[in-house]
């Protein structure tokens, strides 16, 4: 970063540079280095101000609703905070419903020690808040979702940190996403907590990430509540997720994901889904009213049999392994399995049943010791659908899985 000249100018003028929005050098709130307010041309006003942002500065959106036709790109800055100055996130609304340039709303690239907080972001073309290849993220007190775009034109991810290290997402509300409301991908060390995801295809998804936690959150009225996926063809292989003390309820929304996406294969009524995930500790959750099941635990091979592309990724591990499900409360799940899902219908037919259990496992495991692959303590009902054996011998016998699994150590964000 070249900052010497800029600093000199700051020293000369005795004020932060604000060439836009509120005139040059007018007063702005304490702690704001760049301060914008709604204007006749928010896209120009705000983009000009963003270009002036430097390391260790705070970019402030004053109260009001902003309308953007292009994405807002921040890149290669350290120690920056981007925030709304309202009393609540609802006081600052960034509306991208008219976006015709770029796919993201807020687009952060290579931003270390970034905080984004206290705003509402709506209706970007693809992703509302996107952060990639950054270290040290705090995304908090945010409301993000789709309200005006029709269901078939909704974006993918409301909150989307990816390929980043030390990621904290807290007190966010994410809704209306055609993929996942809160999606953390290819992260190392992440915590999602005290958040709410509703009316998305996937509420909260942790994908190809190392050492993550989803804690004290609510996932309700999505197609699926909380997902841990390990997908082939990506640069990062993940392991290690704890899902604890969440409320995962009534995730029965009809799946509206675009065909061809992996989440389009998700049955409605799925509280949790583990796909090729390794080292997952699920405890203390309250799981109620999810029509298909409380947790669907499958390998990528099973997903491929249900329509996902086959993979030739040489480093990929297709099985779900080392899962521990304990101390959860399961009630009223599996009472109305998704009637429109081919694989769900197959599971019902193979078992000769019309309802399903709290936990569904495909029976596909990598080691000889399947007890170690999946351990279950507590009152959950269980079904091994024997997908690996062609659905020939499904079983509801849980005793092979009566074991104690491996607790995940707490995630520490440095």
């Amino acid at each position: 970063m070249h900052q010497s000249l800029a600093r000199l100018v700051l020293a000369l003028s005795g004020t932060a540079l604000t060439l836009s929005a509120i005139g040059c050098g007018d007063g702005q709130p304490e702690g704001c280095n760049q301060y914008v307010l709604p204007s006749d041309d928010d896209t120009t006003t705000v983009r000009e101000a963003i270009v002036l942002l430097e390391d260790n500065q705070t970019f402030c959106f004053g109260p009001g609703t902003y309308h953007f036709t292009a994405e807002l790109a921040f890149s290669r800055l350290d120690g920056v905070t981007v925030m709304g100055t309202g009393t609540t996130p609802a006081d600052v609304v960034l509306d991208f419903a008219q976006q015709d340039a770029g796919a993201k709303g807020l687009n952060f690239t290579a931003m270390n020690d970034l905080t984004v907080e206290n705003m509402t972001v709506l209706d970007a073309a693809a992703d509302n808040i996107f952060v990639t290849t950054s270290v040290g993220l705090i995304l908090r007190d945010l409301v993000s979702g789709w309200v005006t775009r029709p269901m078939n034109a909704r974006g993918r991810y409301a909150i989307y940190p990816v390929s980043s290290t030390n990621v904290l997402v807290e007190r966010v509300e994410a809704f209306g996403s055609s993929d996942a409301g809160i999606y953390v991908g290819q992260a190392t060390n992440c915590i999602v907590r005290n958040s709410l995801a509703h009316d998305n295809v996937a509420g909260i998804e942790i994908e190809n990430s190392i050492n993550c936690e989803v804690l004290d959150s609510v996932a309700r009225d999505n197609t699926g509540g909380i997902l841990v996926f390990e997908l082939p063809g990506l640069p990062t292989l993940g392991f290690g997720t704890r899902i604890a003390n969440n409320t995962i309820t009534n995730n029965n929304l009809a799946n509206f994901a675009e065909e061809g996406t992996i989440v389009s294969l998700l049955p409605a009524g799925t509280a949790m889904m583990l796909l090729a995930a390794n080292d997952v500790d699920i405890d203390g959750n309250t799981v109620t009213g999810n029509g298909t099941t409380g947790a669907l635990i499958i390998s990528y091979d099973t997903a491929a049999a249900a329509g996902a592309p086959s993979t030739s990724d040489p480093g990929y591990d297709t099985e779900t392994e080392n899962i521990w499900i304990h101390g959860n409360t399961f009630t009223g799940n599996g009472t109305m399995p998704d009637p429109n899902h081919d694989a769900v219908r197959l599971i019902l037919a193979s078992g000769g049943v019309t309802t399903l259990e709290d936990l569904i496992w495909d029976g596909d495991f990598a080691t000889d010791d399947d007890a170690m692959t999946l351990c279950i303590d507590g009152t959950a009902t269980f079904r091994n659908i024997d997908a690996a054996g062609g659905f020939a011998t499904p079983s509801t016998d849980r005793t092979p899985h009566d074991c104690t699994g491996t607790a995940r150590p707490p995630v520490v964000l440095e």
């Binding site: 800029a6 996902a308 086959s310």
Partner: protein, 351 residues
């Protein structure tokens, strides 16, 4: 980053504040493109004596804009060759790219309207980007921050009359393509992009040979070189043309360390593993960008491949590249379609 440019334009703004003037106009020693002394005739893109024109084999499609490329290396300094044949420039180098629209690409002599000139300047070891907008008379170009939208018209080589709104990038958008995880850097200045004939005024000669004869390189160039295929060279192998096109048009983001690294779809020319450049690769985060298709490239079936669907789209959230183009590149879509269709068929559903 853009900070040096900002400082330059901010200096007078700050003075204006001190003087009680409410001027918001950018100003400073780099406010005008002419402050750099790069051209003896800017309107006709005639460079100064110390400014060297160049061209590349496989260019980035930019909504049918024509591009004029130049470099200025400080006197007495030399260029070394880095990883992947990248030219590694000395401190003070200025790289210049002017974007304009021909009245009629079928007959360039009918004239051209200049829109913008972008500079990458190597200062204190880092590349800084500057964007200048040409005035209507093309007397000079003025530093730009916000990335305005400019209505343009042109007639393409195929004879299509186009009228659309061209988008100039902001400084931050420059680093979206030129940056990513790695530092901001030039994209086209590599041995495999320069290894072709160019007319410096004495008839076509190899660009690298010409630059070497100028004493530009600190070391002897490798004798074994593999130039990219030109995507428009019908005599070159289809695969080479397609990969050269993807390299130039996609790999600034779709590479390790690029802004689309996380997609796992890496399209730089160095990638040899088919699943890494899209063959039977499931989408990670494409959303509506799948178009209902389940793999980036389904060999033998472009109509089932996500790659061609997104390249052909102009809808934000679906289209590729995401930025900054407004239009789809028909010739590019055709090339990639032909390449995929010529592959040995595979339905990507496993054995």
């Amino acid at each position: 980053m853009f900070v040096r440019a900002l400082a330059a334009l901010a200096a007078l703004a700050a003075l204006a504040v001190l003087l009680g003037l409410a001027s918001c106009e950018p100003d400073g020693e780099r406010r005008h493109l002419s402050d750099w002394g790069l051209f003896v005739d800017g309107s006709n893109q005639i460079p100064a004596d110390d400014v060297i024109p160049y061209d590349i084999i496989s260019p980035l499609f930019s909504d049918h804009a024509v591009k004029h490329r130049f470099m200025r290396i400080p006197e007495g300094e030399t260029v070394t060759i880095g990883v992947d044949g990248r030219l590694m420039f000395p401190e003070g180098t200025v790289l210049v790219k002017t974007f304009g629209f021909l009245m009629d690409a079928r007959d360039p002599s009918l004239g051209e309207r200049l829109i913008e000139t972008r500079l990458l300047v190597l200062e204190e070891g880092e590349w800084t980007s500057y964007v200048y907008l040409w005035d209507e008379e093309e007397n000079d170009a003025l530093l730009s921050l916000a990335g305005p939208r400019i209505p343009v018209t042109t007639i393409t080589e195929a004879g299509d009359a186009l009228a659309f709104t061209y988008r100039v990038p902001t400084g931050n958008e420059c680093s979206n393509c030129h940056g990513g995880v790695t530092d901001i850097r030039p994209l086209g200045l590599r041995l495999d992009q320069l290894d072709h004939p160019f007319d410096y005024g004495a008839g076509p000669e190899n660009e690298l040979d010409h630059l070497e004869a100028l004493g530009l390189f600190a070391e002897a160039l490798p004798t074994e070189r593999t130039p990219l295929a030109s995507p428009t060279d019908a005599s070159a192998p289809l695969e080479d043309r397609a990969r050269a096109y993807l390299h130039a048009n996609c790999s600034h983001c779709h590479r390790e360390g690029g802004a689309a690294q996380q997609s796992g779809l890496w399209l730089n020319i160095e990638i040899a593993e088919p699943s890494r450049f899209g063959v039977c690769k499931p989408p990670a985060a494409a959303g509506r960008g799948t178009g209902g298709r389940s793999a980036d490239i389904v060999p033998g079936a472009s109509e089932l491949s996500i790659m061609t669907f997104r390249m052909a789209s102009v809808e934000p959230g679906i289209k590729m590249p995401e930025l900054p183009n407004v239009l789809s590149h028909a010739e590019g879509v055709t090339l990639i379609t032909e390449w995929i269709d010529a592959m040995e068929p595979d339905d990507c559903m496993g054995p």
